[in-house]
């Protein structure tokens, strides 16, 4: 089945061999290995990508379902200047320990900051509620997102 979609800003046309999950397509065939598979059941959020700007679990989608849609992975977020503050803030605050949850966290944070420039701590917690971290606890991650939001706000002044 021929599928056309937008991936990290570029149109892509692919011939999909029957059906695979979106995460399998991204990691195994497109070498976009920044997206991680944790639980494979939609509970941990490590596989989060943006579908038309909204965070979704790539382990719960069929690759064929993205036809006609736009997908942004952590690679797309990392290459986007608008989100540089998030990556920097994760480094500075020590929000990364083993790093496995970080791509999903950052993708969820990017979706939040795109729609809400001044999120409260509660809004950050709610936006990241579908992303589990088993190392750091969440306070540094929340601090990182909050710091990134402040910087984005300052820049716009």
């Amino acid at each position: 089945m021929k599928v056309r979609f937008k991936l990290n800003g570029k149109f892509v046309m692919l011939d999909l061999p029957g059906v695979e999950r979106l995460i399998d397509l991204l990691r195994e065939r497109l070498d976009l290995v920044g997206t991680k598979e944790g639980c494979g059941k939609g509970e941990c959020g490590a596989c989060t990508v943006l579908l038309d700007g909204k965070p979704v679990c790539s382990c719960l989608m069929l690759a064929s379902q993205i036809a006609g849609h736009e997908i942004v992975t952590i690679e797309g977020v990392a290459a986007d200047n608008r989100y540089a503050h998030i990556l920097n803030a994760f480094e500075e605050t020590g929000a990364v320990q083993c790093g496995y949850c970080s791509p999903g966290m950052i993708v969820s944070a990017a979706a939040l900051l795109a729609r809400n420039r001044h999120p409260s701590d509660n809004e950050i917690k709610r936006a990241l509620a579908g992303n589990l971290c088993r190392c750091t606890g969440y306070s540094k991650i929340i601090e990182a997102v909050s710091r990134a939001a402040e910087r984005v706000a300052q820049e716009r002044k």
Binding site: G18, E20, G42, P55, L60, S64, A67, A111, A127, A129
Partner: protein, 288 residues
């Protein structure tokens, strides 16, 4: 990895119903439940409903019709639903996580027929009716008769769930929705209670609706205690008395299980709290 033989995404409802008539395809909505089942090797042929225009919310007099493909996120952010079906709005906002709400649909939640489906107790409060379509025509079934048991429904071969028709809440209705679980997000509900209450001018209960998930074998209203409460003066003792009856009904219908020593007092306390909360919302609404 998954192995699916065929994936189809028709753009016309008639085409979809024709394919469904062949009896080989399983309809797919958001996929949040289905993709997990696919990993166990089934089903093998998928018919994706995404392009059929079933993601509508229609306001029509005293009813709201919701297309089966409307996501939980879309329901939770819709102002019309927040006003006229507030319990559904709340239930949808508590499903899984943002990632799940962005894909999971109300139709999928119903058809998957999990005993702990978050939206079903809410929809039962609004006398939800399901519009089912097949190549043979359309039929309408009350939600209360659609779910037959855990993961079992009366969806016929070749049928798809097209839309859900809900009766709007009366404006001055108090309500509550309680979802019990181990944590707040990505939470499989242990027990769900949805209530709405309407008071007469004389301070007595005019009408009350109560539905429960993960209490009986299927999510259901509890008409026996609804009837018992109507015409009575609300009080904690009355609510507790009603909740005790509900707990006895739970044991009678679901059997005495390993979880009963936990669930019985929890149901009594939560239902008392749910009714109290609905009533307090009503009083707060009257003041403002």
């Amino acid at each position: 990895m998954i192995s699916v033989l065929e994936y189809l995404r028709p753009e016309k409802l008639d085409d979809a119903l024709h394919i469904m008539g062949g009896g080989e395809h399983t309809p797919a909505a958001g996929g949040t439940d289905l993709v997990l089942q696919l990993r166990d090797g089934r089903p093998r042929k998928i018919l994706d409903l995404e392009r059929l225009g079933l993601d509508f919310i229609r306001n029509a007099g005293d009813i709201i019709e919701i297309g089966s493909l409307v996501t939980h996120a879309a329901i939770a952010s819709n102002p019309l639903i927040a006003k006229s079906l507030p319990v559904l709005s709340r239930a949808s906002s508590l499903v899984g996580s943002l990632q799940i709400r962005n894909r999971g649909t109300v139709g999928g939640n119903i058809v998957n027929a999990s005993p702990c489906a978050d939206t079903v107790p809410a929809l039962l409060l609004y006398d939800a009716e399901l519009v089912l379509k097949s190549s043979g025509g359309t039929r309408t079934v009350p939600l209360s008769q659609f779910v037959l048991g855990p993961y079992r429904t009366s969806l016929g071969p070749g049928e798809i769930l097209h839309s859900i028709i809900c009766r709007k809440a009366e404006v001055s209705t108090g309500w509550s929705y309680i979802k019990l679980g181990r944590r707040q997000a990505v939470n499989i509900s242990r027990m769900t209670l949805a209530t709405s209450i309407f008071m007469n001018g004389d301070g007595k209960i005019g009408s009350v609706r109560i539905s429960a998930g993960s209490v009986f074998p299927t999510p259901s209203r509890i008409p026996r205690i609804e009837r018992m409460l109507v015409g009575r003066t609300p009080s904690q003792e009355l609510y507790r008395q009603a909740a005790n009856i509900a707990a006895d009904m739970m044991i009678k219908e679901s059997g005495h299980r390993w979880s009963t020593p936990y669930k019985k007092p929890v149901l009594i306390n939560l239902l008392t709290r749910a009714l109290t909360e609905a009533q307090s919302k009503l009083i707060a609404g009257m003041v403002s």
